[in-house]
């Protein structure tokens, strides 16, 4: 299964679930990453990490390892 960390530039994904075993899952959900929402990869930093994704009309910078617990459909 793909995760938000594997998105390509400009690609849009739909969240299927959040891996709740990850320690950051609570904060990730609170920032609005919930199943059914669309997310898009907007930018990456020069080091490829963190990435900036848009969710619910807001840009959010997130580390790849944390984006990894956002599972996509």
């Amino acid at each position: 299964m793909r995760t938000a960390a594997e998105l390509n530039y400009g690609e849009i994904g739909i969240i299927s679930e959040i891996d709740s075993s990850h320690p950051s899952s609570k904060r990730i959900i609170e920032h609005g990453f919930t199943p059914g929402q669309t997310i898009e990869l907007i930018n990456k930093s020069i080091f490829n990490d963190p990435i900036a994704v848009s969710v619910r009309g807001t840009l959010i910078a997130i580390r790849k390892c944390e984006a990894g617990c956002i599972k996509l459909k």
Binding site: K26, E30, N43, S45, I46, G57, T58, L59, A61
Partner: protein
């Protein structure tokens, strides 16, 4: 301060997601001037004020740090949640004003929903509606109010539009306070939290379908096609038709570009710090001349004697030598303020997260570190936004290495001394270089300390970086300037008395015991005679006794007791170093004109035992290096103790940074000499 009267008046607390406009509203209602910044996490401490009397509401208002949810992750969020539930003095708030960014309802409604279900007396304040209007949308207050079952009011934080409605709602809430039962407030249930949050978000999605309305119904069709054109969100996916701010996306295409983004980042940082020198230079010359004129006026018109020296050497030179740097400090605050309010700092934090995480820091360390260039004290407190304790402690540890504004006068003086008059552009570059060097050293220090982290910081938690990137805004000039003005004023009033006080103490130490020199003064002009007397008097003064005591330590780094005395006095406040140099050196130069500038006095100064020049390139560079490292600020030590919760870290900081300062100065001075630079 609490009096008995205060206890009875209602407490209104501002809470809300980060960057939603709480502090802006606080400033409007209280007439205060706290810092508002386009960065999530600018407020990290709560503060209270009475609401302005002209609004006719007798209540205490409290501003709190932004929180994403009622379950805190970082210390600043804990401050906010504690102020809701367990404030020791103020108790539970009677009314909660919950600010919500109307462009981000989809995320920001989580908190008000949690607050309402916990039983608080909530008023939702919709902010940023002007930005929403630019996108052709508005929120229906009445519909949202019905859905949430609480009062909803739109207030524009920039134009104050809608304020009357808010005041009206607050007044009617206060009248009906007896209907609200504080005892019914429950702690937010954190057990099934993920599930609960998901549930709330589904409810929010339902609410959103109802509350957004087109600003102008005719334009509805245009909007859909505009969105399509942008292809930001394909229509089939867009649940509420919401896409990130267009302009922000466009700007970020450049500023967050994979490659150029980082280059621009380095350029922005470089320009920020070099501009401080370049922009301030003309103003500094102006202030300098003013004080030089004032000084000569005193010397010419007063009879020579202790009083004249007290006024000219002690008071005028002392204060003048520091006030000269007010333009620089003003510009530093101004440039940083503009940068903060633009929304760029969050991008900086993102770009630098990876490298910082390699040395045990976090992207969130970036903003505290940057504000450390203004002053270490608020910077250390700002580190509260870092959730991971180890990363937070390490950030606090290295913040004193950021060259704060108090060091600016010292650098500026020494740089001006180093560079030839016709090459003043070099000054900006050297200053930029000093900042770069201080960044590099803090990186090295962080790296080394990180290696020993298990011994120093016991906490071990998972590291995290999730940061909202706010939409770019044109900095609100009036609030940036007024904040800059206030910070500069604070600087003058905080540093001013210390400097003046120390100038007087030093003047006393250098002037007494008043010995009438027994030397041959025949054939000398009056001016020369005075100068010989003054230097002879200094030689025998109390300050000299003190200074000679530490001379053995100063000698290896190429300096003499006079610099030693100045360095000791710099522990009161770093700026005192300059005024102290002014005092000791202007006294000891042989120059005829007492209205001589400090720079010239330094050029003339010689080591008394050997007659060698004291301020050579090597020793001046050495002094700069000393100031880069030394932790000469007692308030920083105190704040570090408070924020880290113990003496361990502040003591380590003082020991490590002070010995590092001495060792690095030793290496610089002797290294330069070894390569033939005197």
């Amino acid at each position: 301060m609490k009096t008995n009267v205060d206890v009875q008046i209602p407490l209104i607390t501002l809470v809300g997601p980060p960057n939603s406009g709480k502090t802006t509203l606080f400033n409007i209602l209280s007439g205060k001037n706290y810092k508002t910044v386009n960065y999530p996490g600018s407020t990290v401490e709560y503060y209270t004020s009475r609401i302005l009397s002209r609004y006719n509401i007798n209540a205490e208002l409290l501003d709190s740090p932004g929180i994403v949810s009622l379950i805190p992750e970082s210390p600043d969020e804990k401050v906010a949640v504690d102020s809701l539930y367990s404030h020791p003095k103020l108790g539970v708030p009677d009314i909660l004003l919950t600010t919500v960014d109307s462009c981000q309802l989809s995320r920001h409604l989580l908190l008000p929903k949690q607050l309402i279900s916990a039983g608080f007396n909530v008023v939702v304040v919709l902010t940023m509606t002007d930005i929403l209007a630019k996108r052709g949308k508005k929120v229906s207050e009445s519909k949202l109010s019905k859905e949430l079952n609480c009062d909803v009011v739109i207030v524009n934080g920039r134009s104050k539009k809608g304020l009357e409605n808010l005041l009206e709602i607050i007044n009617s809430k206060i009248d009906r306070l007896n209907e609200f039962d504080k005892n019914k407030i429950t702690a937010y249930n954190s057990g099934e939290n993920n599930k609960t949050s998901l549930g709330i978000f589904y409810e929010i999605e339902e609410i959103l379908k109802k509350v957004y309305e087109p600003l102008n119904p005719d334009k509805k069709i245009d909007l859909v096609s505009a969105n399509k054109e942008l292809k930001v969100l394909k229509e089939e996916f867009s649940n509420d038709g919401f896409s990130p701010d267009e302009l922000t996306l466009k700007i970020d295409r450049i500023l967050l570009h994979r490659f150029w983004g980082f280059v621009i980042f380095l350029l922005v940082m470089g320009l920020t710090f070099t501009s401080i020198f370049w922009l301030a230079q003309p103003l500094m010359i102006l202030v300098d001349e003013l004080f030089t004129d004032l000084n000569s006026l005193v010397v010419q018109n007063f009879k020579p004697g202790w009083f004249t020296y007290l006024v000219s050497d002690g008071i005028i030179s002392g204060t003048g030598s520091v006030l000269v740097f007010v333009p620089q400090i003003f510009i530093l605050f101004l440039v940083l303020g503009l940068l903060e309010d633009s929304g760029y700092l969050a991008r900086g934090a993102m770009l630098i997260d990876k490298p910082l995480s390699k040395i045990g820091l976090n992207g969130r360390s970036f903003v505290p570190m940057i504000s450390g260039y203004a002053c270490a004290i608020p910077a250390i407190i700002a580190a509260r936004t870092i959730p991971n304790r180890k990363e937070r402690l390490l950030t606090i540890f290295i913040i004193p290495l950021m060259s704060c504004s108090a060091r600016l006068p010292v650098y500026a003086l020494l740089i001006a001394y180093l560079i030839p008059k016709d090459k003043s552009w070099l000054g900006g570059i050297i200053l930029g270089g000093i900042y770069l060097f201080s960044i590099l050293t803090s990186v090295v220090v962080a790296f080394v300390i990180n290696k020993f982290r298990k011994k120093i910081f016991t906490a071990e938690e998972s590291s995290s970086f999730i940061l909202e990137l706010p939409t770019y805004k044109l900095p609100k000039l009036s609030s940036v300037i007024s904040h800059t003005y206030n910070s500069s004023k604070q600087y003058i009033f905080r540093a001013g008395p210390i400097i003046l006080g120390f100038s007087l103490v030093l003047w006393f130490l250098t002037y007494f015991p008043h010995i009438s020199p027994q030397i041959e003064t025949n054939g000398m002009s009056l001016g020369q005679k005075q100068n010989v007397e003054r230097s002879e008097r200094l030689e025998k003064s109390y300050a000299a006794d003190l200074g000679k005591f530490i001379e053995p330590i100063m000698h290896p780094i190429g300096m003499d007791w006079r610099i030693g005395v100045s360095l000791i006095s710099a522990f009161a406040a770093r700026e005192v170093f300059v005024s102290s140099l002014a005092l000791t050196f202007k006294v000891t130069t042989d120059d005829d004109q007492s209205q001589n500038t400090l720079l010239n006095s330094l050029r003339e100064a010689k080591i008394q035992s050997t007659g060698e020049k004291l301020f050579t390139t090597a020793t001046t560079a050495g002094l700069i290096v000393f100031f880069i490292f030394a932790l000469q600020c007692l308030s920083t030590v105190a704040v570090s103790r408070k924020e880290t919760g113990g003496w361990k870290i502040p003591i380590l900081q003082v020991l490590i940074f002070t010995s590092l300062a001495y060792i690095m100065t030793f290496i610089t001075v002797n290294g330069l000499r070894f390569f033939g630079v005197q």
